[in-house]
Amino acid sequence: MAAAATSDNLEINLTPLLDLVLQLIMFFMACVNFVSEQYSRNVWLPVAESAQEILPDLADERIVINVELAWTPIRDDRGEVVLDPVRKQPARQLLQPRTYRIIVLGENMIQFTDREQRVGLFQAQRKLRDLAGDLRLLLKDRPYRGQKLVLAPGAPIPVPVVFRVDEEVPGGLVLELMAQCRAEGFGDVRIDGLMPEGGR
């Protein structure tokens, strides 16, 4: 009789389980990478041990220029994508002839091959000139980082320009793009790299 009396009370207490699940959800939400549209995932960044952490308040106020190479993932006999053992991402095969892509601000993709490098560079330089002109107009009327700027013609533009460049791209191409940035008035040029494990 006593056993029958207690059998009705058999209920699983779900509250601790729910607590745990909600904690896990919070963990994953905190760890999720909100990748800006400006950042191309096709770029294989070089490892830079001395790279400094990007300040969160600056992360969205940067002009990002991606310089990447067109590639296809390598597949095994079963058609499955092979992982690169070092990078832990799909191993790649570069398209031949080498095809470069310069992506400014997450859009405006300029694509060219090795032979068309001069033409591609010219288009990218023209894009940077237009961008500098637009930014000068924009910053003329709006405060930037809490202060109103007086942007005289030729004065440096305070917005940082960040280069995310694939490790296989020739350095001369990057240097020419940087020189154009400088000529257009972007005084703050930075390069992005992967921080090593447990980065500073």
């Binding site: 999720v32 070089p46 790279a51 400094q52 995310r164 490790e167 350095g171 001369g172 921080m195």
Partner: protein, 195 residues
């Protein structure tokens, strides 16, 4: 047998002596939580964090600026920047690899050991470069009032792979000694066209 009373929201029809219910039906909430959890678990991709290195471009052809007229002139706002005391020139090797490296300091050219092999720089070239730069750093004290002491001018071959360029820049900025202490070599780097 005593039956367990179910708790319900609102007033009971049987009279005021009945308890009002406070039970919350958590099963749908738990279902939804599991769905959200599954979504995050399957889409979770731990990627290494990105960092940045500030870069300067020296006055000259690349920047379209004039060089300073007086070599003793100190840098000031509005004036062209002066060349750093130390320069590094890195040649390329077949395949866009890092090649022969020379440090230019006070009119002297210091060849970095193990950097001029037939296939480019050897495995000891970068540690040797760091050691050579550390020796120069001990001669030139870091002086915030003198920008030339903080900077290093770097020239690299235009065909050199960007990965090797960054490796080179990394080696010029910082090193770690035997005790694991980080030593700042040249905190500011300036890129210069290859001559």
């Amino acid at each position: 047998m005593r039956r367990r009373r179910r708790w319900r929201l609102g007033r009971s029809e049987s009279g005021p002596e009945e308890f009002s219910s406070t039970s919350i039906f958590i099963t749908p909430m738990l279902d939804m939580s599991f769905q959200i959890l599954a979504f995050f678990v399957f889409t979770f991709q731990p990627t290494p964090p990105e960092g940045e290195i500030p870069i300067g471009l020296t006055s000259g052809a690349a920047a379209g600026e004039q060089a300073a007229q007086d070599p003793k002139q100190t840098a000031a706002p509005g004036l062209p920047r002066l060349r750093p005391y130390v320069s590094l020139r890195a040649d390329g090797a077949p395949g866009g690899a890092l090649g022969r490296m020379e440090i230019l300091f006070q009119g002297q050219r210091i060849l970095v050991a193990d950097s001029d092999g037939p296939a480019g720089a050897g495995p000891k070239a970068i540690p040797n470069l760091r050691t050579a730069l550390l020796g120069l750093r001990r001669q030139i004290r870091l002086d915030p009032a003198d920008p030339r002491s903080l900077s290093l001018s770097v020239q690299f071959h235009p065909e050199m792979r960007w990965g090797d360029v960054v490796r080179l820049l990394d080696a010029c900025r910082r090193m770690t000694d035997e005790q694991g202490q980080a030593i700042t070599l040249f905190p500011q780097l300036e890129l210069e066209p290859f001559k």
